[in-house]
């Protein structure tokens, strides 16, 4: 895992002091809210419906046990005993007091964390595959480059007042678990004919009110020129991105309106100017950063196996957990464990201080002190020896964290919605809770298999509803809340944006509607091996539409 050196520590401390000064000037009234807003946003501090919300960066989703314990401590001391993990692999606290924020930032700095650029019109935290460095299907571990991007983009003086926020996601494996085609820039590891590693660069993807799938702008940028290439894109965007309309300010609109070829021409012209210059990454540097992410000292576990079928018979809950919550590890005898933050009836992504402490202990003891936050709002213990699985599971059961529903219908991505968010049109957490109740039975979930439901409380799409196999969007209709359902979205390498299937539903009708969709799928699928999304692609929307609205 990356460790701060003196420079990083001084940087974060300097930033903390700077923001403490700004907070004091706000408290004293020297700064108006208008002037303070972009400054606090740059430090991840939002003004929400009820209170300030502080969003803390978890760079590329990686945490140590010490860091998670600190987050638990902050939840306990400055908040109401819980934190909320977001779809950007960050964590946010919903109830801090403005005057406490400098103290919280100082606490974070003591464990090499910060909230820099978790909001505001700047380059946000780079997200990546939660199984980076562990997954069996990985070409390159993306984290060293993600760390380099983190450093390059931190308080970049030219790109701090962009037209709009800017998100970069990267994946080192062909199976995209980081939704890179739905980011402003998506980077996919690639190897060219000469055997060099580099990056496929996708640009202009995004969700929000105008969902767009990213477009391939360059099929191979060598590692050493990646920063120069990114800077070229950023400069073109900073100069030409629209600033007249906040809803048209993302780079996806620029690419859409100007056309990929125009933007590509501008980016390549800029790249030609700066390529080979000061931003060139020497390979020794990449190597040096890479050593921080060296694989931990795995022991020979090749002999240890777990018989899932057998376990499923003697302990069905454990069997389900093994079935759904493990990801294949590149090291024999190890697995990556997903800890579901999606209990039936719970608020997706929330974890209490006590739960965070438990997970931190498990990470320290059984996962080489490493943890990941997923963009699906779960936690991951990336390197657990198969022999330890039962012990880990038992500890999770005691903490109420052992739901074996990763990737299942109840593993819902959901934004905070009207319960917290000032922009919301509708509640989203209660909808998620109702749906999980409806499908609570594990047998039912197993029957349904892989199905991703994603819920947003408004068109800003923080809950990624556009890329849910089933998406749910809260809209306002005549003063009430109404929910639109979309089908067919997919955030993976087979990216697609879901389509609205018909008129919206009242809140209490949503779970039934979902059930009808699910029943239709089960009735029409070829076999249990055909997933919901595959079936939808084959069948089209007609049978689902009919199930919801009857024949026309």
């Amino acid at each position: 895992m990356y460790r701060y050196d003196e420079f990083d520590a001084a940087f974060v401390a300097g930033r903390g002091a700077q923001f403490a000064d700004q907070v004091n000037r706000r408290l004293s009234g020297e700064l108006s809210e208008d002037q303070f807003r972009p400054l606090r946003l740059m430090n991840g501090l939002y003004l929400q419906l009820h209170a300030y919300m502080l969003r803390i960066a978890v760079p590329y989703g990686t945490l140590s046990s010490r860091q998670l314990r600190k987050l638990a401590h902050i939840a306990r001391t400055y908040d109401r005993g819980y934190g909320h993990f977001t779809t950007r692999q960050n964590i946010q606290f919903n109830w801090p007091k403005l005057k406490d924020v400098p103290a919280i930032l100082a606490e974070l700095a003591s464990v090499e964390m910060h909230s820099i650029q978790t909001s505001g019109n700047c380059i946000r935290n780079t997200t990546t595959d939660q199984f980076a460095g562990a997954a069996a299907d990985e070409i390159i571990d993306p984290r060293p480059v993600a760390e380099i991007i983190r450093q390059w983009s931190s308080l970049h003086p030219e790109f701090t007042y962009l037209p709009r926020k800017f998100k970069i996601a990267m994946t080192g494996s062909p199976n995209d678990r980081a939704a890179i085609r739905f980011h402003d820039i998506g980077l996919q590891a690639a190897v060219n004919a000469a055997g060099e590693t580099g990056w496929e660069v996708w640009v202009g993807g995004g969700l929000g009110r105008t969902p767009m799938i990213g477009k391939l702008i360059n099929s191979f940028v060598p590692n050493e020129h990646l920063l120069a290439y990114l800077e070229s894109i950023m400069r073109v965007y900073n100069r030409y991105g629209r600033r007249d309309n906040k809803y048209k300010a993302r780079i996806k609109i620029l690419v859409h309106e100007e056309g990929l070829e125009t933007i590509k021409g501008q980016v390549e012209a800029e790249f030609a100017e700066i390529r080979g210059g000061i931003l060139t990454l020497p390979s020794e540097e990449v190597d040096r950063i890479t050593t921080y992410f060296a694989p931990p000292a795995f022991t020979d576990q090749a002999g240890s196996k777990v018989d899932v079928a057998y376990q499923s018979i003697i302990d069905p809950a454990y069997g389900r957990w093994l079935d759904n919550n493990l990801n294949a590890h590149r090291e024999p005898g190890y697995a990556s464990v997903t800890i579901s933050l999606k209990p039936v009836g719970g608020a997706p992504g929330d974890a209490t201080d006590v739960q965070m402490d438990v997970v931190a202990d498990l990470a320290e003891r059984y996962s080489f002190d490493e943890l990941r936050v997923t963009h699906e709002q779960n936690l991951v213990l990336p390197h657990v020896a198969v022999a330890d699985l039962r012990t880990v599971y038992d500890a999770l059961v005691a903490a109420g964290l052992a739901d074996g529903n990763a990737g299942m219908i109840t593993d819902i991505i959901c934004c905070p919605g009207l319960d917290f968010c000032a922009l919301a049109n509708a509640r989203s957490i209660p909808i998620a809770q109702e749906i999980t109740h409806k499908f609570a039975a594990p047998e039912r979930q197993a029957e349904i298999g892989d199905l991703k439901i994603k819920i947003s409380g408004c068109i800003n799409a923080c809950g990624h509803h556009h890329v849910g196999h089933i998406g749910i969007l809260g809209v306002e209709k005549k003063g009430g809340e109404l929910y639109q359902i979309t089908l067919g979205g997919d955030a993976s390498e087979q990216a697609s944006v879901g389509k609205i299937i018909g008129p919206g539903f009242e809140a209490d009708a949503v779970p039934d509607a979902i059930e009808k969709l699910v029943d239709t799928y089960i009735a029409k699928r070829h076999s249990v091996d055909e997933t919901f999304i595959q079936a939808y692609r084959r069948l089209g929307e007609a049978p689902f539409k009919e199930a919801l609205y009857g024949t026309a």
Binding site: A10, I148, Q151, L155, H156, P157, E158, T160, N238, R239
Partner: protein, 424 residues
Amino acid sequence: MEQPKQVQVPAGHDKLRALGILALNGMFDEMDAVGVLRQAAADVLPGDLAVVSSFGADSAVLLHLVAQVDPSLPVYFLETGKHFQETLDYVETLKQHLGLLNVHAIHPNQADLARFDPAGTLWETDPDSCCHIRKTEPLEPITELYGGWVTGRKRFQTRERGVLPHFELTSDDRIKVNPLAYFHDSDVNQYKIDHGLPEHPLFAKGYKSIGCAPCTSVVAEGEDPRAGRWRGLDKKECGIHFDFNGAIASPMMAAKRHTLWKDGTFIADPFHDWTDESEPATARYQHVPLPVFLAHREAFLANPHPLGLLVAPGESVEDVADDLERFSSIAIKFPGFADGRGYSTARLVSQRYQYANEIRAVGDVLQDQIPLMRRCGFNALVVTHEPTRAALIENRLPEVAIFYQPVGTAEVPIGTRPFLRRAS
């Protein structure tokens, strides 16, 4: 050159502080000029009074008064190195004619000249700094030597001087004596005629207020006599009329507040805004909007005067890349602090095009953005926001002084990481 008096006189004529000055002005208000000067030299500041004179068009009157009261009163002349030869000749003429015994030339520090004005053209780009090194700095040690100074300033000369009294107290407790405060233009001419005083050789040629050669031009009939000084610049006063701390001697003298922050201080801005009346062929010290420049490029390139360029967001600095060197200043506009396009413009100008003169930020320039601006290449700021001004003056910008990414070639430490960290 030997100075007449080397003993340091402690400043602080307590009896003459504020109220006292008022009383003195009351006493002398009706008095004639020679009476004011005689009282100052004999009673108020005996042995502690000196004169500074520009030996300009009107200087003969004051020097004539001095000769009458005490020809051995020390008279200092700022030999800026930029005077007309006629002025230097005139110094000798008056010395002879009036029998002045104690005239001293003060020269600028040679090292300062070599450092700040090697080409002798500083007056053109930054007249305030030029006056500073050629006048204010050389005069300062001399001012320490006296408790009071006689000046030739007159109320009518510029609007700011409308309320000039006979006696003023400077902020460092020195007294300024202005015997000619109440003289009008016509009084000066009449006095010269009455006393048969020799005329400055340039007076007849239309120069009414004469300073350094480059900064003096002919005044039209009926125009304010001082209109010829720093013509085209928003500069009315020379450093030496300010008090010896650089602040304004008289609290009643309104001076325009400087908004240009450069090299660690607010200075007078030689530039002013482009207007509808501005002419491409004759404009000077104005920032020409980029589209205007492109529309009249030939005329601007033929224009011999110093000019700046104004680049607004959305305008493409690439279009003028070949002409950047023509400008002595490039102003980059921030219509709102959240509009970050100016940062890219500044990096292109300073780094890609290697433009080395002034790059100034104008518009919504606030303290929290200034550190970013500097890193992108800005070396001057026009600041009106009050807390930001205070923060600049008190040198407390909210800055993270260490950087992760290289944005300028000057920031590159060899052998460190590629995304080049630097601590300032």
